[in-house]
Symmetry: D2
């Protein structure tokens, strides 16, 4: 019963197979291979327009590189206070951008609102004594397993674009968002004003693969230099291209996401029947966050269940001292029986 | 007939298999998995002492990260003028080190000598108006397919250590060096004074895998932070660990290197019989550099042979205007018949 | 009536004179001159021990450079949420440190407490996914015109030193702190555990002059390189040395600070007699912060008085919507009659 | 007899006076003062067109900041191999630009030629494996006391502009160049295609003052942020503005430069009559470079004369082992009798 993260699970068999298929013969290196090129074409097809797509090996690199195309070192990027770029990347955005300020905003249910962004921007009244706001980064699906709708994304884009700022989407779990909303990828991204995104694949079945996808093509100028300079231009690039093509083929990315989302819904449904457990936010993707008694937490861990606790900052008074905020992440590869067994275990332990 | 680079060839079957083997079940992410840990142990075994080893996905990242542990932004690193860190990484060393100066020295046959290093160091007489020399980086096997012997490495280490400088080895083709010299890896590294190395695997059969290996363990302090911050801490890290274990198992790394070296020797042997072709440096690893007539070069390319020309800077007057300096790289996976066919082709074209 | 900042006032006549005195003849440049050297000696004398002192031209540079000696780019520095390094320097600390995270803590009366620092440090439980805490920076006198006592400084030093962290003091208004506390400079700095400080002079009578003063001499190693690299090694350095010697001579620095502090006390005393005005924090240095009616604020500005409003974050519910938080800064050069006239004006306007 | 540098001499009396004049009353800080604003206007007048001018305290900062407006960290800047930005600034350009590569070209008489630049640019054929060439920086007057004519500047600008590159002029001794050429400042800068320059004043009579002057106004966007972030926005900025206005008033800058140039001409004239001394380059500004016997060098130093030796790289075989290359710098403030006495001394010592 491992709900620690989606990245504790392995690679989808079809993606693994694609690596073997790509292994024959020679191929140009450093993104000059056919598979890398076809990845970009396939992503253009998925998004219903021309995009520029750059394959990299980690989400942290994808985010840092994408942000480096939005802001110089004297700029500022606004994001949620629990965003990966703010909390989990060891100053990586600062590294890639040459020292930009990442400003975390604590918004409801893992999301930041236009009103919150506007309020922060109003504080920038002193010219160069402050950094210059250059962009907003939103995560979709969010770190709390919730979703921005296309309209919510658009409201943010419409707020920041007139100020000369750009909009980045951290899509480490973008597939889960699209699968849940059931909308075309375009609606949630460029049609809603997203300028560049980190298109995640690793958490959802790839081995090590993310793409920086540009909708504002002007931002992609020189991006190949950025990728190279950061050590993210893989020499045997065909194996990134192969992963991406397999990931996108026949909607594997959405199938995997639907499976994970479905398991999350199932887990949430089960936990909601248990009085000791509270689920404060909607469960819209592949994560379930719950407030549970500390004693239950300890007992579950003692039984070998794997999951992490989470910063309770977003809960305010909604959590008591004898409670803990925990996160369960579901993968396409999480065995369904693990979900069922876990619900049964919680029931048993809280009886 | 593809001699463009060792990275145009694929992954060794045993390494590919290891990925599938690693795919079952769950594993801790972010280098917390068993395979990553065992990789470090195995590298310690290979080097005959405790090392700290950090797996990353590209050689550029391995070099940049290693150098960042040697020098602050106000420092200088000396290396060969044709070193990868000087010529091929788009300011990546500058990026990872926060702006250190990389100083290229043009030494004979791809190598720099203690005398050359000493001469450059003597120029640092003006305190903080110059950067502070913090390290030397040597590449072994070199960019020109030659080797530093353990004694040559030691002579450099003995020169720089008393000045508070450290010695880095770019070992993108380290396996080829060890296989060629037939010495224990220890002799060529820490016993000769190397403080940290980039231990390459990608060019020699892995998919995307290098290790930063520390012999000076104090330098490894905080290195986990450096790796994370640069987006090189892979979430599904087991697939790096698996590659490394397969690469080292039963001396696969040396077997591959021997195969590649053997093909290079064979190619050199064949080319040496052809009057129009001159091979200016010893062929000691898996690369053959040759001075050939430009007309021959054009004819070979027209016949579909793949290889690159190389900066002729090291040749001085030894090359004529109607000649060109070209590089042939051999991989463990280069078909032997390609070598034979290529020699035959050159013979035919120069008849 | 200009209370906008201490830097709107000019240079003390004795310091101005020192520039003319220094002007005769030739002098070694780039900090090789006698006046620069004697500045360091004089600072050692003032602090009652050997220090290393590096003269620079701005407080922002002094802070950034000092922090760069404490933390690498993957580190974190904790400070007050209204600290200059957090709020007023346009990512300069990030620039000088190569991307370190500056973490603002909102403590009472412009100060952060050991308990607050400890709580933040307890959040660093995830290794390299977080930056590594490397230092704490406190401002004394604080941004809110309050003071850390030697005991308060020591409590913070004693908390962070065992964790391998260093303590920086932003002493842009250090003279005001020393003058107010009446203690030896040593007691407030190295005897209390400060490792490095920004020793301010500009706000207190110099033209453009700050010193980075090291008590932990090991941290000063290579600092000359840092200063040079950042464009802060002035060629005609004698004019920085001259300023510093004049500033320290016959306790001019303390006399100036006492004068400014005295005016602040006088202003506070006057304002406290006015019911519409509230002074929430102790007035311990040369700044007075007051909560005043917005109408009064507008009226004062309309009368030509100059001062700024300040972030009301520290006040919580103590400020009403029709009120505003304002700052008055007093300089050694502020005319006493301006203080008197201002008090009279406030009285008149609130009658 | 001090010919070590122009910065070993003091501040021109009129500039010193201007500081005292600026000292009365209050003034807005952080470049909001009238004197700073009027400086920009005066520079526009001098250059015969609208410029944006930013005052800073050192030439190293001026250069680094100017270059940071031309190139991102993945870019390259070409310059002469003896340029200050290449040889004398301790990785400061790398620091300010976030890691750009500075490429030194060894051209004749301290200058680089369009042909040399073109040759280097032709080497950039491998896309993102190289940095992207973003600019050229020329120094005028050069480090070797020679001059680029307007036509020579224009030839370089016309070469690089069509490639999307920008042209920077390091004008640490710009006044000497203008005074020597006798042309309008416009002819040597924006009319010849210079996009941004470091306009020096310190060496030529100011205390600590340089301006970054933009002719390509688009490059100046956000530059105020860059200056602030690097700790170069001086709080009591009126004292920079005052220096600049005094420096430009009634052509003081050109008068000082003419004086210094005249002394250099005089020194060169005297030395040319001495058989043991050779002056390899034209003496066009305020510096004289000479090849002299090592014995003479030692004897002159023993007599108390102050001057430095210089890298002999540009001389090739023109210098013998028993000779040394030395530099004499003349200031507006160098006593004429020192020049005469020095010539006499050389004559005496070589008799």
């Amino acid at each position: 019963m491992n709900f620690a993260s989606d990245n504790v699970y392995g690679v989808h068999p079809l993606i693994l197979e694609s690596l073997a298929e790509a292994n024959a013969g020679t191929a140009s290196s450093y993104a000059g291979d056919d598979l890398s090129r076809r990845s970009e074409e396939k992503l253009s097809e998925i998004f219903g327009r021309e995009v520029r797509a750059f394959l990299v090996t980690t989400g942290t690199a994808a985010n840092g590189l994408a942000l480096s195309a939005l802001t110089p070192g004297y700029g500022a990027i606004l994001c949620h206070g629990e965003a990966h770029i703010f909390c989990d990347e060891c100053n990586s955005p600062e590294f890639f951008t040459g020292g930009a300020k990442i400003i975390g905003i604590h918004g409801p249910a893992g999301k930041i609102t236009p009103a919150q962004i506007e309020k922060v921007l109003k504080g920038f009244i002193r010219g160069e004594h402050d950094p210059k706001p250059k962009g907003v980064s939103i995560t979709n699906a969010t770190e709390l397993g919730t979703l921005y709708s296309p309209a919510e994304v658009k409201a943010i884009a419409d707020l920041v674009h007139p100020r000369g700022m750009k909009l980045h989407m951290d899509g480490a779990r973008f597939a889960n968002a699209v699968a849940s909303l059931g909308c075309p990828p375009a609606d949630l991204t460029w049609k809603a004003g997203v300028d560049v995104m980190s298109f995640g694949a690793t958490k959802n079945g790839a081995m090590m693969l993310e793409a920086v996808v540009f909708f504002d093509l002007a931002l992609a100028e020189d991006f190949a230099y950025r990728r190279m300079r950061s050590g993210q231009l893989v020499s045997k690039s065909r194996y990134l291209g192969a992963q991406m093509l397999a990931y996108l083929k026949d909607d594997l990315w959405l199938k995997n996401a639907r499976a994970a989302n479905g398991l999350a819904a199932k887990l949430a449904e089960g936990l909601r029947t248990i009085p000791a457990v509270r689920i404060p936010n909607p469960v819209q993707a592949n994560e379930v966050f719950a407030i549970i008694p500390r004693r239950l937490n300890d007992a579950l861990l003692a039984e070998g269940a794997k999951f992490y606790d989470w910063m309770p900052d977003s809960l305010g008074d909604a959590i008591r001292d004898d409670e803990i905020f925990v996160r369960f992440v579901l993968s396409f590869a999480t065995p369904q029986q693990d979900v069922e067994a876990f619900i049964a275990l919680v029931k048993r332990l809280t009886k």
